[in-house]
Amino acid sequence: MGIQICKPIVYLGAKKVFLKDIVLDKSYDLKNKIGSRIVHIEQKKSVLDMGIVVTKKCIEQYKAKPKFLIFVSQGQEKRLPSCAEEMAHKSNIDNKCLVLTISSGCSGFAQAVYLANKLLSKEMNQGLIVCAEKYSTYIKKSDLKTRLLFSDAASSTLVKYSKKKNLLENFFGYDGQNSNSLEVINDNKKEVLNMDGFRVFLFSIKNIPITIKRIIKKAKNINFFFIHPGSKILLDTIINKVKIKSNKVPTTFHITGNTVSTSLPLLLKDNFNKIKKNDKIVISGFGVGLSYATLLVKWI
């Protein structure tokens, strides 16, 4: 019926890279366009390894006994199988647990929360949402604009069943015509990330303000807007279009860059103590697909 979201466990790539060291064109407006000063790159751990680190820590911290595990990732080492089952096994999760994978990016966490809410019941009373992505594997060294943006990261979020319905609104959408705006392509037998940031930007500023405005119309007094911090310029544009106070829109630019599916768990983790019971919060993810998912959750 309802979903309780526990404080996420987050892992950031071990190597910090300062953006000023990447940018050759010193006139490039890093502060207003990108927002963060550093990105985190993971050189040793795989997507699977990062997933295991956060999952084990989450289980240990909450003494969790998850009945399902939703793995959100698109950048796994093998085309098949998904590493979700191996991750569950290596994290000592009961082998009668439902394990599934969502192939999604920045919308993935919000999509998974929606799905988890549908799965949760008295019997299936807790589950994990694990997000892991390592875009640095696919980013060409010469593709400076993309290197400035993305960080490698993973997160594990325990969700629990609640009797009260608290997922109040949900909006989803996609644009399959512009799927190639953010994709991994084959370049001289090497897989590389190819991004038309301009198209992703247009998709986001067209759709996200509309869905958030719809939510605001239905629910007054929203306490926080957790909006995927793709880049500062994108987030600022959304804030301006929706006309919401920026103090209600937390960011993580002081920590790192765009962490793909972990960006929303990272925002929640960083602001967890500020959210009070019965607060209304918006969770909005958007990006690769192109796709978006926006939820209104009453905090339990």
């Binding site: 940031g197 301009f198 930007f201 247009l202 067209k206 310029i233």
Partner: protein, 71 residues
């Protein structure tokens, strides 16, 4: 606004000379920040009327701007 006024406005907003055939792919400064500068300039010169034009947010070429502002 006529065609030449629009071209002049976009050039000024981007800080780079554009022509009728310019778009975000062939114009270096026409990125997300450039887009916002174009929209802000249009909004200013039309006294807010341009922000009410649907699809103007997602234009990516001078031709599209001309077409939408003609309507």
């Amino acid at each position: 606004m006529n065609k030449s006024e629009i071209i002049k406005l976009v050039s000024k907003a981007l800080g780079q000379k554009v022509t009728e055939s310019s778009n975000h792919k062939n114009t270096k400064k026409w990125d997300s920040l450039g887009q916002l500068q174009i929209l802000a300039s249009l909004d200013k010169i039309t006294k807010g009327r341009s922000s009410k034009i649907q699809k103007l947010d997602s234009v990516s070429s001078v031709k599209e701007i001309i077409k939408l502002l003609k309507k």
